[in-house]
């Protein structure tokens, strides 16, 4: 039964993470906003690789583009590649302690941001300013709390 798997929790948390992008940040501090949507995606891929994969990554990327008003498909490829790497090595990454996991997340975020930059260059959308790197660090620091919250909800609702 679908209900027993409680898959709606996955999509609900991803939705909340995307809504986070809509909260108003002043124009100078925008780049520090942690990328909660990517973190939530990474968590679900690590936790439930048989449920959440490349297709979800694609959908999250499209949703991000729609929210930003960017050309569709700008954020997806980076997220998809990061997800692919996670799917290939989730068993190892699950064994890491939290700090090591945060580092892996930083690398994945850098990778997806790098691919996005490359695509932006290709389609003549302005590339991110350097401050965005600080934003990636903020996101990395959010990994531990995001992971804790999602882990709690996964256990509470028995998502599998």
């Amino acid at each position: 039964m679908n209900k027993a798997h409680a898959r709606w929790v996955i999509y609900l948390t991803l939705g909340f993470a995307l809504v986070w992008m809509l909260l108003p940040f002043s124009i100078e501090w925008r780049s520090l906003r942690p990328d909660i949507a990517s973190l939530a995606l990474f968590y679900w891929v690590l936790a439930l690789p048989h449920r959440v994969g490349i297709t979800t990554a694609f959908a999250v990327g499209i949703a991000q583009d729609l929210i930003e008003g960017a050309p569709l498909g700008l954020s997806s490829p980076g997220l998809m590649l990061a997800t692919l790497l996670l799917l290939l090595s989730y068993q190892r990454i699950r064994q890491y302690d939290l700090l090591q996991q945060s580092l892996v997340v930083l690398v994945l975020l850098l990778l997806s941001a790098g691919i996005e930059q490359w695509l932006r260059n290709g389609v003549n959308v302005p590339v991110m300013p350097l401050e965005a790197l600080v934003g990636l660090l903020c996101s990395t620091m959010c990994w531990i709390p995001v992971r804790a919250i999602l882990r709690q909800s996964r256990r509470y609702y028995e998502v599998y």
């Binding site: 809509l22 909260l23 108003p24 940040f25 997806s76 302005p126 991110m128």
Partner: protein, 267 residues
């Protein structure tokens, strides 16, 4: 695999009308979602406003009345100047200015993408907005509309680093292109010869060339001019006249005056 196929087709069909319609629809959906999650904040603000003291309100009414008087005085002169101008134009046999038609809109949110200077407005196609229409602040040009949903639209600001607009130095009539720098308080004017007559404090106004922006709206004021002896071009920076990161109310020019040409190119 399927996702990769989807990506490729999204790229190939990036200008397909259906896809654009979908993006326009998403503009509305995003705006509605933002409105819902910000409803508690808005409600609180409204509550605080409704408890504003009588004295503060009276002060504000007084201030606005004063301002209104001053503005009315200025318009009186404007009317006579307009008619004078129309007579001169008639003498010169040139096209007559029709007054621009404006729609007031409110900025509801700023794009979360730190590389872009885009804002969401609460007016859309049913209010007469179309893509390419100029957006004005109280003190000058702010940007232009790039995507129109039914009830909401997105506008790109002039400081966005993908944006450039033709301007004219008000003092000398010199034409130039003002590019966005990606910083909210700076425009860059490139490719001006080092011998050009441009000074700090010069007002830049829209030149009307290119047909997208009507002629004569203030854009920016020159803040620094650097001429290094070896270079062929001067480095000129300007600060936008309207504070792009302040204030919530903007005006959209929904019908331009007759002497501006209709837009022909996409951003």
């Amino acid at each position: 695999m399927l996702s990769v196929l989807c990506l490729v087709s999204l790229f190939l069909l990036r200008d397909h009308p259906r896809l654009l319609a979908f993006q326009r629809g998403a503009t509305d959906a995003v705006a509605v979602t933002a409105e819902i999650i910000l409803a508690p904040v808005d409600g609180w603000n409204r509550l605080v406003q409704s408890f504003q003291s009588r004295a503060a309100l009276q002060d504000e009414v007084f201030r606005l009345q004063q301002e209104n008087r001053v503005l009315k005085g200025q318009t009186q002169r404007l009317v006579s100047l307009l008619s004078e101008n129309a007579r001169y134009k008639a003498l010169l046999n040139s096209a007559r200015d029709i007054e621009d038609e404006l729609v007031a809109a409110q900025i509801t949110s700023v794009s979360p993408d730190p590389a872009r200077h885009m804002v969401m407005l609460d007016k859309g196609s049913i209010d007469g907005l179309r893509e390419g229409q100029p957006v004005l602040g109280a003190e000058g040009l702010m940007g232009q509309i790039v995507m129109v949903g039914q009830h909401n639209s997105r506008a790109v600001l002039i400081t966005d680093s993908a944006h450039a607009l033709p301007v004219q130095v008000n003092r000398s009539g010199l034409r130039a292109i003002a590019e966005g720098s990606g910083r909210i308080d700076q425009l860059v004017i490139r490719h001006l010869a080092a011998t050009t007559d441009i000074r700090v404090g010069d007002l830049l106004v829209t030149s009307g060339l290119g047909g997208r922006f009507p002629h004569g709206y203030p854009v920016a004021r020159v803040t620094d001019v650097t001429i290094s002896p070896g270079d062929a071009f001067a480095v000129v920076n300007a600060a936008p006249s309207s504070a792009l990161d302040r204030g919530r109310f903007v005006l959209v020019v929904v019908r331009e005056s007759a002497d501006s040409i209709q837009p022909g190119s996409q951003l």
